[in-house]
C-alpha cells in the first residue's frame, strides 16, 4: 500500500552518522517509515544495516543525526526507551537466554510481569498472541532446544507483548526454512494491516519483491537509492543499486560435460555404517548412515529439516566427533588411524575443510584478528609455521591477499573478527577453508547472511573447488541452493539417508515429502 502524502511518518531518521575506529559504519542516513508500511533495507555485507537497526532500537548511540517518532523528537539512551515508544527488535543474533524457558525469556522483556512467579501471568497473553497472529509456542520449552525459526518466533512474540508498533527485523529469513518464511510473512502482513510498521533487512531480493512497500539501499553506510513498490520493484535494479554494478547471471548452467567427469572421479569421501548415538538413547541413534560416497568433482547436497542428523554428520566428517561405530574414510583411509588420534587435526591434514553452521562460535575466534583467523587452519604448516615458530610476515601477507580475493570489508587485517559484520565473518571462514585446494569440503549454509554478490561468488567458488577435484558435501535448508549446486541430493530424515537422487531429476515436491519423513 502506498503511504498517503499527508501521512506523518511513524519514524524518521535524518543524517544518522556512526563511526567506529577505521570505518564509517553510517554516513548520514535518512529514512522514513510510515504506518502500515513494510520498509526493506538492503545493502552489501558491512553496509551498515545492522548498525542502523541498532540505532533505531537504542543499542547504538549515533555520533550525529536526529530521529523523530510520530512527529516528536526521539532520543534513545537505551533500548528501554525504544520499547516504551513501541519499537521492537528481532536481532540478527537473537537476544535470548538459551538456558531459560520460553516463558522466562518472555517474562524478562515484559515490564508488567508480577514479582512473584513472573511467568505465571503470561500464559493467557501468550495464547492471545498465538491466536491473533498464528504464533504457537510451548512456554515450557528451553530456548536452546528450539530451532532458529522457533527462536525467532519467541523474539517476535516478545516484541508484540511489549506493544510494539514498529517491528525491526535484521535478516529474519536467513535462518528460516521456506515454509517458515511464508508463515513469518503472513504474520508481518497481519501486523502492518493493523496500521503498524515493519523495517526489515534482507539479502534475498525475491522476498523484498513480494513483501516490501518501500526499499532503501545502503552502500558503505550511505543511502544510494530508494524505491517504492508503487513504482514497481525489480530484482536486477535492486541488485545493481546494492553492489554498484551489474551482476553476472547466478549459478551458471553447469553443462553435461561435468557429469561424465564425476563418474570417472575417485571416491574421496566414504562413510560406511556410521552411527552416532544420541545421549541416553542407544536404540535410536542420532545418525545412522549405511553408506555415503562423494567422488572428486562431485557436489552432494544434504537436504533435510534441521535436527535430523545434519550436525552429527558434519561433526563426524570434520572429525569434531568420533562416530560411535563405523568408518569415515578420506581418499581411501581413515584420517589419523594407526596414529595417535588428534581429532579434527587429522581431518585438516587429510584435506577436509569445514564451513561450520555456527560461524561465531565454531567458525572464528572472535578476539583474534582477521589475519590470525585466516591462518588458523594451517597454522601448524608452512608457510605459517617454521618449526615451532610462527612466521607472522607470512600470516600478514596471506591475510592481505585473502581479504582482497574475498572482498572482506574490514578496517584492517588486525581487527578482531568479532567486530566484523555477520556476512564478513562468513567470508573470513570461506577464505580460510577454501584456501589450498581442500580434498573434501563440508559446507553448512555456506551463503548464510551473504549479500547477492558474495552469494554468487561463493557458489562459483564451491563449483570451482569441485572442478579442481574436491568432494563437496553441501548441507543447507535452502532447497534452491541445494538443487542448483548439487550433482546429487541425499535426504536426511530421522538420522538416516532416506533418499538419494540426481539433482537434475529431483522434484522439489518429492524432496519435500522425503524431508518430512514420508516415504517416497
Amino acid at each position: 500500500m502506498k503511504p498517503e502524502e499527508h501521512l506523518q511518518p511513524r519514524l524518521s531518521l535524518r543524517g544518522i552518522e556512526k563511526r567506529y575506529p577505521g570505518v564509517r559504519a553510517l554516513a548520514g542516513v535518512d529514512l522514513d517509515v510510515f504506518p502500515g508500511q513494510v520498509h526493506a533495507v538492503l545493502g552489501e555485507n558491512g553496509a551498515g544495516k545492522t548498525t542502523l537497526m541498532h540505532v533505531v532500537y537504542g543499542l547504538v548511540a549515533p555520533d550525529e543525526g536526529s530521529m523523530t517518532w510520530e512527529g516528536e523528537p526521539l532520543r534513545l539512551r537505551s533500548p528501554r526507551e525504544a520499547i516504551a515508544r513501541g519499537i521492537g527488535l528481532v536481532a540478527q543474533h537473537f537476544h535470548l537466554v538459551e538456558r531459560h524457558t520460553v516463558a522466562e525469556n518472555l517474562a524478562l522483556g515484559f515490564p508488567d510481569a508480577p514479582f512473584w512467579r513472573p511467568t505465571r501471568s503470561l500464559l493467557p497473553r501468550l495464547r492471545a498472541a498465538a491466536e491473533r497472529y498464528g504464533l504457537a509456542l510451548d512456554p515450557r520449552a528451553q530456548v536452546r532446544d528450539l530451532s532458529p525459526g522457533e527462536r525467532q518466533r519467541v523474539e517476535i512474540v516478545k516484541a508484540l507483548m511489549q506493544g510494539a508498533r514498529l517491528l525491526v527485523l535484521d535478516e529474519p529469513t536467513s535462518v528460516l526454512t521456506p515454509t517458515e518464511v511464508d508463515a513469518l510473512f503472513a504474520v508481518l502482513r497481519r501486523f502492518v494491516a493493523e496500521g503498524s510498521s515493519v523495517v526489515f533487512v534482507s539479502h534475498k531480493l525475491a522476498e523484498v519483491e513480494v513483501l516490501a512497500d518501500a526499499v532503501t539501499v545502503l552502500r558503505r553506510g550511505a543511502v544510494v537509492g530508494r524505491r517504492s513498490a508503487a513504482d514497481g520493484l525489480d530484482r536486477r535494479d535492486l541488485a545493481r543499486l546494492m553492489v554498484g554494478r551489474d551482476l553476472a547471471a547466478t549459478v551458471a548452467d553447469r553443462g553435461r560435460a561435468r557429469a561424465a567427469a564425476i563418474a570417472a572421479g575417485p571416491v574421496r569421501l566414504r562413510l560406511t555404517d556410521v552411527r552416532v548415538d544420541a545421549p541416553g538413547r542407544a536404540q535410536r541413534p542420532a545418525l545412522h548412515v549405511a553408506s555415503l560416497e562423494v567422488r572428486g568433482g562431485e557436489i552432494v547436497g544434504i537436504a533435510g529439516v534441521a535436527g535430523n542428523g545434519q550436525s552429527e554428520l558434519v561433526a563426524v566428517v570434520a572429525g569434531l566427533r568420533a562416530p560411535s561405530a563405523g568408518t569415515v574414510e578420506v581418499d581411501g583411509r581413515e584420517p589419523g588411524s594407526g596414529r595417535r588420534r588428534r581429532g579434527a587435526r587429522n581431518q585438516v591434514d587429510a584435506g577436509v575443510a569445514l564451513v561450520p553452521e555456527d560461524r561465531t562460535k565454531v567458525g572464528v575466534v572472535g578476539d583474534l584478528s582477521v589475519a590470525r583467523n585466516l591462518a588458523l587452519r594451517h597454522a601448524h604448516r608452512r608457510p605459517f609455521a617454521r618449526g615451532m615458530w610462527i612466521d607472522w610476515q607470512a600470516v600478514a601477507r596471506h591475510s592481505q591477499s585473502a581479504v582482497e580475493a574475498y572482498d572482506i570489508a574490514t578496517p584492517s587485517t588486525g581487527t578482531p573478527a568479532r567486530l566484523l559484520s555477520g556476512g564478513n565473518v562468513q567470508k573470513v571462514i570461506l577464505a580460510r577453508e577454501l584456501d589450498r585446494d581442500p580434498g573434501v569440503v563440508v559446507a553448512v549454509h555456506p551463503t548464510y547472511g551473504l549479500d547477492v554478490a558474495a552469494t554468487s561468488q561463493t557458489h562459483e567458488r564451491l563449483l570451482a573447488a569441485a572442478g579442481r577435484g574436491a568432494a563437496v558435501l553441501l548441507v543447507s535448508e535452502d532447497l534452491d541452493e541445494v538443487l542448483s549446486l548439487s550433482d546429487r541430493v541425499a535426504v536426511l530424515a530421522g538420522g538416516r539417508v532416506v533418499a538419494t537422487m540426481a539433482a537434475a531429476d529431483a522434484d522439489p515436491e518429492a524432496l519435500g515429502l522425503a524431508m518430512a519423513g514420508v516415504a517416497a
Binding site: 537476544h95 517474562a107 512473584w116
Partner: protein
C-alpha cells in the same frame, strides 16, 4: 555409642562447622549467577570476622558486631564490583587482590584484639516446635547458633528469590546473556552490583559467625581457607542454593568424621582434607555432568559493554 546417636551428633557438628561455608557459598552463588565471579571470599570473610569482633567487643553487643561484619564484607565486595563491573577489569585478578587485601587489612585492624576472648559471645538456642521432630530435631534444630538456622533459611529464601521472582529471573538472565537483558530494556550493571554486594554481605556474615559464635575471638588464621572452600562449594552445588546446603553438610560431615577419627588419622592429613575433598568434589562434578551440562552461568567472568560485539 549408638549408630543413630553418632549420626545425629555428626550431622549437628557438621552443620555448625558448615555454617560459615553456607553463608559465603550462598553469597557466591548469587554473585556468580549474575555473571560476576568473586575470588575475594576469603578476604571478605576475614574482614567480616575482624570487624564483627571489634565492634562486638567495643559495644558489648554481638548483634551490632554481626551487622558490622556484614557491612565489612559488603564494603570489600563494593571495591570488587567497582573494579570488575564499572572498570571492566579482569574479575579473577580483582577478586584475588581482594583476598590479599582483606587478609592483610584484617590482620592490621585486628592487632589490638588478638588473644582476647569475647566477653559476651553469641549463644546457642533451640528452634521451638522443630526441635521436637524425631531425628531431624536433634540433628538440625537443637543447640546451634541463630546464624546456623538463619543460614538454612537464607538458602531457601535465596532459592525462592532466584527461581521464582522477577528479580531473580533478571539476575540469572544477566549472568547468562547480558545483551538479552539490555535489549529487553533492563539495566545490567545495577543488577550485577546488587548481586556482588549481597554476596559480600553474606560472606561477611559468614566471617562474623566465626569470630562471634564459633570461636568467639580473633586470630589471623581464623578463616583459614574456608573462603576457598566456599568458592568450590558454589561450583559443586552447580550454582543452586539448596544444593549448597546439601554440599555444605556433606563437606562438614566428612570433616567432622575425620576429626573424630583423629587417633587413626594423622593430623596433617586432617588439615589437608578440606582441600583434597574440594578437588575431589570438583573432579566429581565435572566428570558427572560433562562439559556442556556443567551449568556455569554462560557469561560468568565476562564484563558487559553495550554495542560491543
Amino acid at each position: 555409642m549408638d549408630v543413630d546417636v553418632l549420626v545425629v551428633a555428626t550431622v549437628a557438628r557438621a552443620l555448625a562447622f558448615a555454617t560459615p561455608l553456607l553463608w559465603a557459598a550462598l553469597g557466591e552463588v548469587i554473585a556468580e549467577r549474575s555473571g560476576v565471579v568473586n575470588l575475594g571470599v576469603e578476604g571478605m570473610m576475614a574482614l567480616g570476622a575482624v570487624t564483627g569482633f571489634a565492634v562486638a567487643f567495643t559495644t558489648g553487643d554481638v548483634w551490632w558486631g554481626l551487622a558490622a561484619a556484614g557491612l565489612a564484607g559488603m564494603a570489600g565486595s563494593a571495591l570488587h564490583a567497582f573494579v570488575a563491573i564499572t572498570l571492566r577489569a579482569d574479575a579473577y585478578v580483582s577478586g584475588l587482590s581482594l583476598t590479599m587485601l582483606g587478609l592483610g587489612l584484617s590482620a592490621l585492624i585486628g592487632r589490638a584484639w588478638v588473644g582476647r576472648p569475647l566477653p559476651d559471645p553469641m549463644r546457642t538456642v533451640d528452634v521451638p516446635w522443630l526441635r521436637d521432630l524425631p531425628l531431624l530435631g536433634p540433628m538440625l534444630f537443637q543447640g546451634q547458633y541463630v546464624l546456623t538456622y538463619a543460614a538454612l533459611l537464607a538458602a531457601v529464601v535465596a532459592w525462592a528469590l532466584l527461581f521464582h521472582t522477577r528479580g531473580g529471573l533478571v539476575l540469572r538472565s544477566v549472568g547468562e546473556n547480558p545483551t538479552a537483558v539490555d535489549a529487553a530494556g533492563l539495566h545490567v550493571r545495577p543488577v550485577r552490583y546488587a548481586a556482588v554486594l549481597i554476596g559480600g554481605l553474606l560472606a561477611g556474615i559468614g566471617g562474623g559467625y566465626l569470630s562471634l559464635a564459633y570461636r568467639p575471638s580473633w586470630g589471623e588464621g581464623m578463616v583459614n581457607g574456608l573462603g576457598w572452600i566456599a568458592l568450590a562449594l558454589a561450583i559443586f552445588a552447580m550454582w543452586h542454593p539448596l544444593r549448597v546446603v546439601l554440599a555444605g553438610l556433606l563437606f562438614g560431615a566428612c570433616f567432622t568424621l575425620a576429626f573424630r577419627l583423629q587417633t587413626v588419622f594423622p593430623p596433617e592429613l586432617l588439615t589437608m582434607l578440606p582441600y583434597a575433598f574440594t578437588v575431589l568434589a570438583l573432579v566429581f562434578t565435572a566428570w558427572r555432568r560433562g562439559r556442556h551440562a556443567f551449568g556455569a552461568p554462560e557469561a560468568l567472568g565476562r564484563p558487559y559493554l553495550r554495542g560491543e560485539r
